[in-house]
Symmetry: D2
Subunit: 344 residues, 4 copies
């Protein structure tokens, strides 16, 4: 039976494996100084309509977050995050390990708003002993969030504006950005992200690659000596071309968008099935993560195939069903049948 536990359960899109095989015996310089990386960067900059952006390839999400934040902040500065943000809860203290406090704020829906950022700023500057506290300097958002919520253009624009006013960097963690861009109702593009943030990354690991995240930096203060910071954080892949080849493949003919769409189509079918079965949801997500709320009896039918997410009290739990580029029609039909059978 198929798993819906996460969006990194399979290997890579076959086009990537094929390209890796084809290029296997090319001899290239190491550390990303090769033609594949060069070309992949050009494709991404074109997609972002950001010819002056600096693009770097890293292996994974936590590594990317710690590297970007280390590059951007001075020692006494911290990064504002939703309490549910990946950097706050699921990176074993990687951000603190490089010396920075995550300034975590509770949110109703896993998203930070411009109003919240403004309020944090106002409180900070009205503090009589500011230098005794951590100085907020960066706003970290996940697009989409860890709970499947998506930012729209108006929200991103407002966040961008408030960050500029406050002198904060805006950083978007795009581990699942492909699924966000393909989600129903999404009105933003990679170009908007490049224009509205100082730095963001395009996730490969969860969207068709074996591994890899592409960091797009539009603020020179963050990109300065970024290659040193990557190396210092253990993120410089010797055979850097592996990252170049993967992103080249993903962005050559719109493959990234195409395979992201599959995940959304499948996720929307899951959403519909649980809705029809009468389930509530933790949040109303249009992305590849769906969080229906099940009774214990209902959950037991799916245990091991979806992820337990949060105890909702009264014997109920929110669980996560994840789809991906690799989710098959067959797996989905089987799941739909089971939802009908076990839930209603």
């Amino acid at each position: 039976m198929s798993l819906f536990l996460c969006d990194y359960a399979e290997g890579a899109h076959p086009a990537i494996l094929k390209k890796l095989a084809e290029t296997n015996f090319e001899q290239t310089y190491g550390y990303g100084n090769d033609e594949h990386c060069r070309r992949a960067k050009e494709l991404i900059k074109a997609e972002c309509e950001a010819p002056d952006a600096a693009v770097y390839f890293l292996v994974g999400g936590t590594q990317t977050n710690m590297t970007v934040i280390a590059a951007a902040l001075r020692p006494h500065q911290g990064v504002i995050s939703a309490a549910t943000g990946h950097i706050n809860v699921h990176e074993s203290g990687a951000i603190e390990h490089s010396g920075h406090k995550v300034l975590a704020y509770p949110t109703p829906d896993s998203k930070l708003s411009a109003e919240m950022v403004q309020a944090i700023y106002d409180e900070d500057i009205s503090n009589g002993t500011r230098s005794h506290t951590v100085q907020p300097k960066m706003v970290y958002i996940s697009v989409p969030t860890e709970q499947g919520a998506m930012y729209d253009l108006a929200e991103l624009t407002a966040l961008s504006e408030v960050c500029k006013r406050c002198g904060y960097y805006l950083y978007a963690d795009g581990a699942r950005i492909g699924y966000g861009l393909a989600s129903e109702g999404c009105d933003i593009t990679l170009s908007d992200l490049a224009r509205l943030t100082d730095v963001f990354y395009i996730g490969g690991t969860k969207v068709g690659a074996l591994f890899g995240e592409a960091v797009v930096i539009t603020n020179d203060k963050i990109s300065e000596d970024f290659d040193y910071i990557i190396k210092q954080n253990g993120g410089l892949l010797a055979k850097g071309r592996l990252l170049g080849i993967q992103f080249e493949t993903l962005f050559e003919n719109g493959l990234y968008y195409e395979i992201s769409k599959n995940a959304i189509t499948m996720a929307m079918r899951i959403k519909k099935a649980f809705k029809q079965a009468g389930c509530d949801f933790l949040i109303d997500s249009n992305t590849n993560q769906q969080f229906p709320i099940l009774t214990k009896a209902q959950y037991s039918a799916f245990e091991g195939r979806c992820e337990f997410w949060a105890d909702m009290g009264e014997g109920r739990a929110a669980v996560r069903f994840c789809t991906s580029w690799a989710t098959t029609e067959e797996a989905l039909c089987e799941l739909e049948a089971q939802i009908k059978e076990y839930i209603g």
Copy 2:
């Protein structure tokens, strides 16, 4: 023309690519909790004759060094290294970034000896204000070294003994251990390394894998909560199975040893060719790295294909020729011909 710049110029051994393709649509748990990792760990423990060792897979060498050292040391402790050690010169301060001083000592031949370690210990404990200095706690050696020198069993045994006496951990960086084990005159095995060190790693990146290093820890103090330390250092690969699959392939039928041998055969031919041409060498290496000393005119014939290593004065330079599992007969013949042509 073929490059001899480094041992990570190509992709992976075809058997690895094949296995990746075969397993591509298996659905597995993330983060190394899969059957391939489990099996690869068993194969490595068997090879090391260390059933109780803890084995972990990481992506690259710098990442591995910073993770192992962060796991082993308290904040005031430092790691002893040859001045030429990778952690001292080529990791952009990754060790310092996690708070530890590299206690670097000059060596005649890029190797640390038991006598040197004993002398460092003696000086430390006779210091009247020890707590004003960094406390040595780990000895880092590269096997083979960054200059191609290899430790023999007697040297490793003496280092192991002195470390035990002094209360130091012994850590061997085995980025090129395959080539060391296959080198002429080598009298050590993986089992010796497991027995004589507290922790070491088996390099995959330079020996046939796309990427990957297998850390073997025999000292419980270092392996305790090692998974947290990996995650905190951004080293936990989401699709951990990629590492399991690669090391499974390398250690299933002795492939790791077999492909290492190719590199040595080729390297010895290069050594012979330069010797016959009358060249001196930076050090007498039996491993896959050869450091002939060339005049500027001679070097110009090979520029771009070998690496400039060190200025030797009087218009001469030591350069590095690297072979690997991927070096072909054809490339070698061509190189031999050119050595004859341009040098003598």
Copy 3:
């Protein structure tokens, strides 16, 4: 007019200045290796009934917290604190600077309870991906808290027991411990603190000294190489005897307790005066910090002499009045008169 802004507005108790003058031309070894430090440590160990404790002297509170926590934790471990804890809000990220996350939890009254600690533990160990999160390892409490609340013996005993069960260190920040011990209803002693915690400190800066905090460590795992950790954190005072002389003076004839009592007597009179004037309080404190809630008009009468603490809405604010060993009868009478005049 006298200030009630904080408890570090004056110099030191005259007995300390006298002793500093008397000993000024003694020649002693540096870094605390002198007779005054030796004797002060003995006095403190006797007071704590902890002959085997290790006692160290540091200069200030933030320095002490960062040093103790750095000594106790491995990189992936964090320290549990009330959200209002000093380490969480008023140390400019000193704890994160040495790599550790402060695991901050909201509390009703600025105190952590055994139940809260147990719940944190239960949630941690039931987490399926523990190694992706920060590992709780230490519980930090302020005795009394930053809001003047005091722990009683039953609470401390329960905290101590739960920490032992969970494998957590218990650390008490005693920046104002003198005032806590002298507070009405206090049923604990330094001996209880030594017995129930793994490490705590006795504040000098706020209780009669020019500066200085005495760390009492009863857990060998934390005291191991503690002198290195002090030095590494910039906390080793060259003329260490200055700390010895001050704590010698404070603990020679119970001076520490005696001068703490003055602060409490004065604070209780302030409490009574505001109560009689009809004011509410942020919390009901029996220590040297009182937090009456004033209207803006009322606050304006005292502005610059007490500290703004928190906006309470509806035009009201909680403010802080601090007394200390140095608060005089005259200053108090004047304040009482003003409370009557301006408030009621």
Copy 4:
């Protein structure tokens, strides 16, 4: 018998104790926001002829070094130091603890020269894989050095110029700057230091104060948010006025210079006495530290009163005799007599 072990064996100059007593019951704001600090800063800026400099007070030398370096460097940057530099050998890894590598270079005489700095720069920029190494960004010099050597104006000017050319900060550790300025042949002033460095500090601990170092920053990039960095490093003294009062006293009527002179007069008599007795010296120092080379038998006569410094082979050792503001005529006469008696 008097000790010549170090220059921090006594308390403070009596004028400082007097001033502390006189001001003891003044109520001031904490953390250096008081009139004494304000006035001391003005006196220092006047002395430095640097009206726009930012002046900060810290407690000790290691603390100052780690704070200045943390404020100045990005994570991948390191600080160039003589191998004998205090930050390299006697700070328990404080610099590495805040993430930075000390790039240590051997020197003939404990001093860095402009030529050495230029060579380091040249090597760095000619490196093909610069981002794999630590980026030099600051030059740390001790004025005078840990071995008593002094920089002259030409040397400092050349260092300043090379640093500007290379884009390096120049930082002078002035723990003993008073003794340097008072030394025979010195042709520099505080004003020169302010003009030629980006940041330096004026040591109080070793020159008449109970404790305290005054940091003078003329480069805005380093002084930006310096108060946060001080607090984060545990260096913000609650009763900051103690530092203000001490430096006010030292710089009010040239006391700092006057008491420094005493140390030099006494040191020159020690130098003369050992010279007349036929001793060699480790280096020819004109400052308050003298390093005669003694035989073991000779050393035994002074053991416990001077510091063992370095084994010179052949049964000889370099030892350190330190004078200070507090060295008395009586102590010196006694020492001179003993030198004559035991040595020659």
